[in-house]
Amino acid sequence: MAELKVKVAGIEFENPLIAASGTFGFGKEYGELYPLSVLGGVSCKGITIRERPGNPPPRVTEVPGGMLNAVGLQNPGVDHFIREDLPWLSRQGTRIIANVAGNAPEDYCETVEKLNDTCIDMVELNISCPNVKQGGVQFGTTVEGVYGITGEVRKHCAKPLMVKLSPNVTDISEMAVAAESAGADAISMINTLTGMRIDIHSRRPVIRNNTGGYSGPGLLPIALRMVWQTFQKVKIPIVGLGGISTWQDAVEMLLAGATALQIGTVLFTNPYAPLEICEGLASYMEKNGVKSLKELTGGVRPW
């Protein structure tokens, strides 16, 4: 049997597939379909220091190659998460990544401090949510911003710290370098690409927030390119995401430079995708004599 285990920032995952934040809630709903231990980990819905109501509807729409969403970080707040959601999730035999968002550096710091004393395995710093005015993306689009917030949070965070990067920047690899030099243990990339659709009859944007984050298979080539460019600039591990829908996509993402993977939008198309991707990965490894997924990371042979 092929070895699907991967290690990111000292944390071992049973397999490289992590449910992407915002697509999986706190795990309960997909947990009705299969044990969450089929996943290497779960990145929880973005958590903020206080409860957030989220954006008015419509929040989602299908577009070619994927979908737009502007949920707006609706979440019950970190205290509720720790009290009500984490106890169940922590018994499911999967790694738990707490995705943390905020308005101000103090919010992030206070939130990660509350998480220090819990059983979560890792913090994912969300500085890339495109759907709220003050949801962290203001920190995620400049080198100074990324460096500053990562450094601040690092001082308060006792857990391994992964920084989730926005693709809505000129050069994402510079953001990754900034996060690394400010003390991040890993990078996850990419968050959604900001997009828009317009109803030609009402002349209104389809999404009530006017713009939304584009995700789905259409994002894959962009994510691959960005992961590949970033892999050449940082030493910390990259968790690759953006449009992964099949095991072949997963292999590509590993070859581009990812150590582990997140999958999100494909769950809406096929809730059982994680099981199929894992099976496909294992059989690819066997057929190609790959003993550990580490061997694939960054293994693309560029022309």
């Binding site: 697509t23 809630g25 997909y30 989602v60 969403n69 809406f268």
Partner: protein, 253 residues
């Protein structure tokens, strides 16, 4: 047992029952055994990222079938309509909370256009205790009238243009009717009128809502709907998990 699951289900019969409105019967014994009127199914379409939520119109546990009556609204439903008997549909179901069923309660079913199908399953359970007031644009758009009659319901039909049945609003036909609850599905003005009618008669009212949806099971929080809690504070619930059927007192219409 899983409360919902994904299955490939054989389409047994497919026909167009009015212009752009299709009637599918699907073989899925597991879902038919679990489903309740007012719930919905999330149907996969090849090449599409998002499934399409389609309300369950009928449940036949003996035959192991579900019935879906849906309207072409866009590219997805247009492609769904092209499926033919014998082909398989990939279905995630049964989803959401349906109508509360109190079989001994005289219930007014208020339906408009493509909002009519989810009420048929209720009528089939309530039988003589159902009074269905159904509104359509015109004679050509009338669907399922005979099905409600066959279920045992009293049926009153209204059309916007007066080309069939009563000329006017469905709620205008209810003055002489007696009922202990109102269940409604249709356009927003009709839902408001149904809720107002229920309030005037001091009876409970349940509304079936729709919203653009992604996961269908309550994980992604896409299909938000403004609700009111016990203290009157507004918050966003979700059509797929908290609904699609809501107590009218909860809903901010």
């Amino acid at each position: 047992m899983k409360p919902y699951d994904v299955k490939n289900c054989r389409l047994l019969a497919a026909k167009e029952i009015a212009s752009g409105i299709f009637d599918f019967t699907v073989l899925c014994p597991e879902f038919a055994a679990m489903a309740a009127p007012g719930q919905f199914a999330h149907i996969y379409l090849p090449g599409h990222t998002l499934r399409r939520p389609i309300s369950i119109c009928g449940i036949d546990e003996k035959k192991g079938t579900l019935r879906f009556v849906f309207q072409i609204r866009g590219q997805g439903t247009e492609e769904l309509a092209r499926f033919a008997a014998g082909e398989n549909l990939n279905i995630l179901a049964p989803l959401g909370k349906g109508f509360p069923l109190e079989l001994s309660r005289k219930t007014l079913l208020v339906g408009g256009g493509i909002g009519v199908p989810p009420l048929l399953g209720v009528a089939e359970q309530l039988k003589e205790n159902a009074v269905a007031v159904l509104g359509f644009r015109s004679r050509e758009a009338v669907i399922l009238e005979e099905d409600f009659q066959k279920a045992g319901a009293k049926v009153l039909v209204a059309t916007d243009d007066g080309s069939y049945g009563f000329h006017g609003l469905v709620t205008e036909m209810t003055e002489k009717e007696e009922f202990d609850a109102v269940y409604a599905c249709g356009p927003l003005p009709m839902l408001r009128a149904a809720a107002a009618l229920a309030e005037a008669r001091a009876v409970p009212c349940f509304l079936s809502l729709e919203e653009r949806m992604a996961c269908g099971i309550g994980a992604c929080l896409g299909c938000a709907v403004a609700l009111r809690d016990g203290e009157g504070r507004q918050y966003y619930g979700h059509v797929c998990k908290d609904g699609p059927v809501f107590d009218a007192r909860q809903v901010v219409l």
